[in-house]
Symmetry: C2
Subunit: 410 residues, 2 copies
């Protein structure tokens, strides 16, 4: 077996950015089926939003300068010259000394440049008393103020959140070109691993719970996980099952077998899938050291440690970056870490990144992170946790009260 030097977390992040490609295939999707998909092309606005000057309040369209000097004690007076209805193009004009009623969202009549709120006026037999002055543009959204015709509204690689869908819809866009949904094949290995549905365990058997945690996390990143079953510790069978699944999917996830044990075929299986092959074999991290990352003929391969809790943390840390990059998303804008104060000193070896499960609580306007006691292999420590504190490799630990980065678990 080829010899690999253990990488730091930071080196691993850099290698992922360098090695993992984005999927190339795109598809057209209707907006109401495009949530969480990634734009494959920039979207350029082909019209102004709004398409006309609109009132943002219920009030009266006026010439702003007609209201200058109006106050509670010295009201101004304007002649009422009609009413704009919603969804109607007003035919009247606001001339000097007149006002026209406009509802919220209504179109401003020609001649007006501001709206005075209904609360700041009084209609006394078609003479409008104005108790406040308004500036030009006040309570108005100008044509094109939200989106201007010709501007790049959204860049390629943008993840479509609800607000992006809303902005696209406001332009009359009904379909978008997005990267197609990716699939990740999941394969477990190990003589002791049995399907999680197994009712009664033989002594020595372990249920394959990683499938549920991995598929659950992946679905949050809009990735579908294809279950490939469990292979025994047999190189030929492992290699064949891995190859079949790898061919069906855009990414391969291998669970178990990444410890330096006698039956560790994982590296050889991964190396057999394609070039350039393994780029990370072992990460200086706790928990999760025996992690393998590879790219084989353009498809990422993730070899997870077998411990359920370690596997989940590794998959959240590195799998998320790998899969989101593969979906075509341009990463970086969304905050993935928040800051909280740590409740106690935690020592850490320099050169190694530590990930500590914590409970979060709010006190005096600050978030506090309280480490959860329990060995790293315990899945219940993740159940009890609200997030994971990151102690990066250059630190020798953290001190009580220090701000530390936390990756929240939703």
């Amino acid at each position: 077996m080829q010899f690999f030097k253990v990488k730091t977390v930071e080196e691993t992040f850099a290698l992922i950015a360098e090695q993992v490609p984005a999927i190339k295939q795109t598809e057209t999707r209707a907006l109401d089926k495009a949530l969480h998909y990634i734009l494959a092309e920039p979207v350029i606005a082909e019209e102004n939003v709004p398409g006309f000057d609109r009132s943002t309040v219920d009030g009266y369209a006026v010439r702003a300068k007609d209201t200058y000097g109006s106050s509670e004690s010295m009201p101004g007076f304007l002649a009422l010259a009609g009413e704009v209805h919603m969804g109607e193009v007003p035919t009247m004009t606001v001339s000097s000394g007149t006002a026209v009623y406009v509802p919220t969202g209504g179109m401003l009549p020609a001649g007006s440049d501001a709206v005075i709120m209904i609360e700041h006026c009084e209609d006394v037999e078609d003479l409008l008393n104005t108790y406040k002055q308004v500036a030009p543009g006040e309570n108005v959204i100008r044509k094109g103020e939200d989106i201007r015709e010709g501007e790049i509204l959204l860049a390629a690689g943008t993840k479509l959140r609800p607000q992006e869908l809303g902005a696209l819809a406001s332009l009359g866009i009904t379909h978008v070109t997005v990267f197609r949904k990716i699939t990740a094949g999941y394969l477990s290995s190990g003589d002791e691993i049995v399907p999680y549905q197994t009712e009664t365990l033989q002594v020595g058997q372990i249920r394959d719970i990683n499938y549920l945690t991995i598929a659950g996390l992946a679905s949050d990143w809009n990735v579908e996980v294809v279950y490939g079953g469990i292979v025994k510790d047999d190189f030929a069978e492992f290699q064949q099952k891995a190859f079949e699944l790898y061919q069906q999917c855009d990414c391969l996830i291998l669970s178990g077998g990444s410890s330096v044990g006698a039956k560790d075929y994982t590296t050889d299986v991964i190396q057999s899938l394609g070039d350039p092959g393994v780029f990370v074999h072992g990460i200086s991290i706790k928990p999760g050291k025996p992690t393998i990352l590879a790219v084989a003929d353009g498809k990422p391969v993730i070899g997870l440690p077998g411990h359920p809790a370690s596997a989940m943390i590794i998959f959240k840390l590195f799998g998320e970056r790998i899969l989101r990059t593969l979906t075509g998303e341009v990463l970086g804008r969304k905050p993935e870490r928040i800051f909280a104060k740590i409740t106690k000193n935690i020592p850490s070896s320099p050169g190694r990144s530590d990930y500590i499960r914590v409970r979060l609580f709010e006190q005096d306007g600050d978030w506090w992170a309280e480490p959860i006691i329990g060995k790293s292999g315990l899945i219940t420590t993740l159940v009890k946790s609200d997030g994971i504190v990151e102690i990066s490799s250059e630190k020798e630990g953290v001190s009580q009260g220090e701000y530390v980065p936390v990756i929240p678990s939703r």
Copy 2:
């Protein structure tokens, strides 16, 4: 129309907690179809996890006291007495002065109480040199250490994240009793509102983009939104459509028509649906003041402001609490707000809560929140934003550099 006093945000939160019920109906779901569902019953562990003492490393099962005093310079010596294979119940016993190889996850043989890592030993012709001492329990997960038979693993009202699914699976649980998925009917009103798919707008028309933003947000809370179409400003039609949709769904969302305009039938329509009716009519908040919240015969009704950006913020703030409560989730554990330093002074009126769209960026180990310029009606301000800063009603604004709570938008 009944007269309602505007509520503060804090009063509104309290009223939601008091008024909104949880859905009663439950269903049984397989674990791999239960992600993001809410447990309807507590789960009690019926077995120990792990079911046997397991090694957490590749190494040798020993009696810890046999290693006491071992060091690099003064190694101890143990006789090798066999090897445990994964998935096998060991038949040998570790007696004083002996050691047995155990792989990661393997079962400890009787007599042993610790595992010494393979890296800290050397096998010299069946005589094991030990270069480090181990304490009892070291590198071992005890039977029941993760989950103990009889303990309450998860409480009713828990949202099933990937780690909860993993913990359930590790117990051999394959199905769970959860609250059924809820549906929310969405109905738009307004003469000027046209379907968002409308290609060319008549002047004065506005595309119904709220459906996309609202349905998108709701899907993140595992709520399905049923599109009820658009009704004109006609009381009878509005009432009938609202009633039909209300009967089909577990919750009703009304978009538009909640401004104090001449055509505001929303309150009357809501009041006609059932008792106790409206409990919030107007919130002291910017943006989104004209918000209506009600419960009619056990079903929540949400009257959103028509402005797309306001509607989204209101729905995120109040709709999320209402819908998640309705799904049966016990709220409170997940951090919904993070803290960031604000980049500039922002004034605010005491008695009113302000919600400011911000871009988040990291600098010197802190998150900073930079307000986005733009009127509150602009959907693009939400597209540009990474979150919303909350200035609560008792504050008169925030000062540059002050920590402020931020609701991140994923």
